[in-house]
Structure formats: C-alpha cells, structure tokens
C-alpha cells in the first residue's frame, strides 16, 4: 500500500492534537494566571525506499510523517490587572504561590485571587488565607498564613521558583505540581509580589487564531493528500477492467 496514506492520516491526528491544545489556550484567555501551551512537532523515523546494492552512499530515505514531540508551556508574564482588592496578589516576574492541597501535597499557582477562611483552631477563631478552592496559602516556612483583624498579613507569602518551570505538571484549578523534570522548589528571595493586582492569562488571541488557521490548513492539506493516495489506489485497482 502507499505509505502516503498512512503519513497523511498520522499528520491529521497530529494536527487534531494541535487543535486541542490551541482550543484549550483560547478557552483560558480569561483565566487568572493561565500560561499558554504550544505544541512542538518532530518528524518520525525514516525508512529506506529501496536498497541499492552498488554500495554507494545515496540518500533514499522516506519519512513517516510527524508526531507531537512536546507541549511547551510558556511562562511569559501575563498582564497585571489592578483590582484594588487587598486579597488579590500577582507575582511580577518568575515564581509561584505555594498552596496546601487537601491531600496534604503542596501545589503551586500563579493565580493570586485569595480569600479568607475563618476556622476554629484550639477554641479560637483564626482567619486563614485560602485559595478559591479553600486550600491554605503557605508562607516561607510552609505554614498556613493567618490574617489579623485588620486584614494585614503578618507573614511573607511563600513564593517559590523551579529550575525548570516548563517541567511542572498542570493539575487543573490553575495549579501545578512538582515533577522530576521541574526540579525541587526553591524559595525565591527576590520575588516581586503586587497586592491589589491579578495576573491575567498570557494567551494572545491573535497568535492563537493564527495558529488555529495554520493547524486547520495543514489538516486540510493532509486530507487532500489522503485523497490523492486513495485516488492512486483506485487507479491501480482499476488497471484491469
């Protein structure tokens, strides 16, 4: 059978995945602290069209289409939006807020729209800084942050950074978890936190739409190619009438 048939089919699958990634970016255009993802492609292995026996080093390789190699998250700074709400925080520059997830693990986020949760601890009510999902925001010592009656923060927010933020795994809810690829978290001493601001998503609509058009066109081209390969098969089939 013609290899082109499989190459174009595989290319269509790849572009479909690309489209999934782009549509997720577009869906998160308004998500606080969202970081856009870009698909990176690679060519697949090459095989020999035919074997020459003359011993000469001739290039007779034919490729087997493309595959999704990686999804790279772009941690470019999003626009800072002024909200004037004292419990909104944005990090200007690299770094993440550390929050304690319900399962006891620490998760990291760029979304600083925090709230206060009043809890009874040891017979006393304490106000703790929490995320929209009710997870404790951690300070530099990895402890939940208590807010005093005046709404002031007596503790410094725990801002951490990673050797390779691109290696973090996204777990939804604007949060990331540490992986082997990201490296261990390190407390970022120089982090610039802005109170009363939120970081908008860094998705650029124009760029996403351009990528979308491109993905769609490549999909279209590949489907044409599939048709052409099919047409060839038809011709070969009808050689003998």
């Amino acid at each position: 059978m013609i290899r082109a048939l499989y190459s174009s089919a595989s290319s269509m699958v790849t572009q479909q995945q690309n489209m999934d990634i782009i549509s997720n970016n577009i869906a998160n255009t308004n998500t606080t602290g969202y970081k856009k993802v870009r698909a990176a492609f690679q060519d697949l292995l090459y095989s020999a069209m035919e074997v020459r026996r003359d011993g000469q080093n001739t290039n007779l390789q034919v490729g087997n289409a493309s595959r999704l190699a990686a999804t790279q998250r772009n941690f470019e700074q999003g626009a800072l939006q002024q909200t004037d709400r004292p419990l909104d925080f944005a990090i200007d520059g690299p770094g993440f807020f550390a929050v304690l997830h319900q399962d006891g693990t620490v998760r990291y986020t760029r979304d600083g729209s925090f709230k206060i949760s009043s809890e009874l601890v040891g017979g006393q009510y304490v106000n703790r800084l929490v995320t929209a999902q009710g997870e404790y925001v951690l300070d530099y010592n990895g402890q939940p942050i208590e807010v005093d009656d005046y709404g002031l923060l007596p503790y410094r927010l725990g801002i951490v950074d990673f050797p390779n933020p691109e290696g973090l795994a996204a777990v939804g809810n604007n949060q990331f978890v540490e992986t082997e690829a990201s490296g261990p978290p390190m407390y970022a001493g120089m982090a610039n936190v802005r109170q009363g601001f939120l970081e908008a998503s860094n998705v650029d609509m124009a760029e996403e739409v351009t990528q979308m058009i491109l993905a769609q066109r490549v999909y279209q081209l590949s489907s044409r190619m599939l048709q052409a390969a099919d047409e060839m098969e038809r011709i070969a089939n009808n050689l003998r009438r």
């Binding site: 290899r3 492609f41 690679q42 001739t58 490729g63 490296g183 052409a228």
Partner: protein, 250 residues
C-alpha cells in the same frame, strides 16, 4: 510491446514513492526546523537495440538505444532557510544562515535546526526530547538565572560568559541523513566541518521550509502521472487482448 507494460509499471511505482515524500513534507509543515525532501528521478540505464537475422551483414546491427523505465535516483534535502517565528521564550533559538546545533545523544553527536530548547531540572540546556545541547566544552549549564545568547552563539548568564553554542556547518550537507526527532546524522566521516558563518537568534524558532503550494503541485503531478502510466498499461492490455483473442479468429 509487453516491454512497455513493465516500463509503465515502474512509472506507477515511482510516482507512488514521490507521493510518499510529498506526504511526509506536508505532514511536517508545522515541524520546527524541518527541511523538505525532494525526489530526483532517473531513467533506467540505456540499452542498445540490435537488429538480428540481418541477411546483408553477418553480425547484428545496432539500431539505437532504449530504456525500460524510471526509478528514484536519490532524495535531496533542501536546506533552504525556514521562516523565523518570534516566540518570546528565551531558551528558543534559531539559526539564520546555514549550520546546525550539535546535540549530544546516547548514540553520539546529532545535528538539528530545531531550536525549541528548554532547561532541564539540573539547569542544562536540552532539546524537547531531553538531550543536552552541546557547547564548546560539553553540555551547557545555565542554571536559574537570566541568560542571553548573542548572534555568534556566545552564552552569557548574568552578563558573565559561560560557553559558546557548538554550531557546525558541513561542506556537503547532502551527506547528512535524517534520523527522526528533527535530528540529522552525518553519514560521511570525511565530511568537512566548516566554521559557522550565520547568525543565532534568541527568542526565535525556525519553522519548516515546506511550501504548501509547491507540495500541492507535486501531489497533482504525481497523481496525474500515475494515472497516465495506468492508461498506458490499460492500452497495452487492450492491444494484447486484440492480439490474443481477435487475430486468428476466422
């Protein structure tokens, strides 16, 4: 006459191979640093036709030459510059001009034009697959600090010189073979490595150099050529049909 049947068949096989290459080019139209392949066509070697049983001369007499079909001579990779796309990611790099980044893999050195690099958990510059990018003194350590790369490939972390990207250019780039994963392998040990003359651009990525229009034209010609070869076979078949079934019928 039956000779033509086989000649037309080689034509069909050849056009199908051309389409395979076109399909691969189109599949990689979105692949960073991809270089398109082109099939070079060659006819089979000429053979001398001789007239036998000639009464006038004792030996056979040459009439002329004939060849029996077409095949792939070789696949040529076009190293034409791809489009430079600005990504704003500081680990992304593109080469403007000929040359390749050197990548250190478990199987030895590989070369690539795909500059979608990133930092690994230890702070080394690596490819999307995790292979380290070679500097002049081995893998390049960047760490967590801000870094810049100048047009000559010198890397500075906090304005301190760290290393230089090992960018190579080959005297005969056609001796390079594609190894998948956007990597090239040098198949000729005698291939001279030249000094890099181009320009490194940080925050940019080189796209594929595949031109959709050209590939579509290639696709159309390949399918039509395939079709005409099929027509020839059908014609010969019909003629054979007449010879076998009609001549001799009373």
């Amino acid at each position: 006459m039956t000779r033509g049947l086989y000649t037309a068949a080689t034509g069909m096989i050849h056009q199908a191979r051309r389409l395979d290459t076109v399909a691969n080019n189109i599949a990689n139209i979105n692949t960073y640093g991809y270089k398109k392949d082109q099939v070079v066509t060659r006819s089979f070697s000429d053979e001398l036709l001789l007239r036998l049983n000639n009464r006038q001369s004792p030996s056979s007499q040459p009439i002329g030459t004939i060849n029996h079909g077409v095949t792939v001579e070789e696949v040529v990779t076009s190293y034409q510059q791809g489009i430079l796309q600005h990504t704003g990611v500081n680990t992304h790099m593109a080469l403007n001009g000929p040359g390749f980044f050197t990548i250190i893999t478990d199987d030895g050195e590989r070369y690539t034009r795909d500059g979608s690099f990133m930092l690994d958990s230890l702070g080394y510059l690596v490819t999307a697959d995790g292979w380290p990018v070679a500097g002049e003194t081995g893998p390049i350590y960047i760490g967590t600090e801000d870094f810049t790369v100048d047009s000559m490939g010198y890397i500075f972390v906090n304005d301190q010189y760290v290393d230089r990207l090992q960018i190579v250019d080959f005297e005969d780039p056609q001796a390079l073979r594609k190894a998948g994963h956007n990597l090239f392998i040098n198949s000729d040990p005698d291939n001279q490595i030249l000094d890099y003359q181009g320009e490194v651009m940080q925050n940019y990525i080189e796209g594929s150099n595949v031109d959709a229009v050209k590939e579509m034209v290639e696709m159309v010609t390949a399918t039509r050529n395939y079709e005409s070869n099929a027509q020839i076979i059908r014609m010969i078949d019909e003629t054979l049909d007449k010879t076998v079934n009609e001549i001799g019928r009373v």
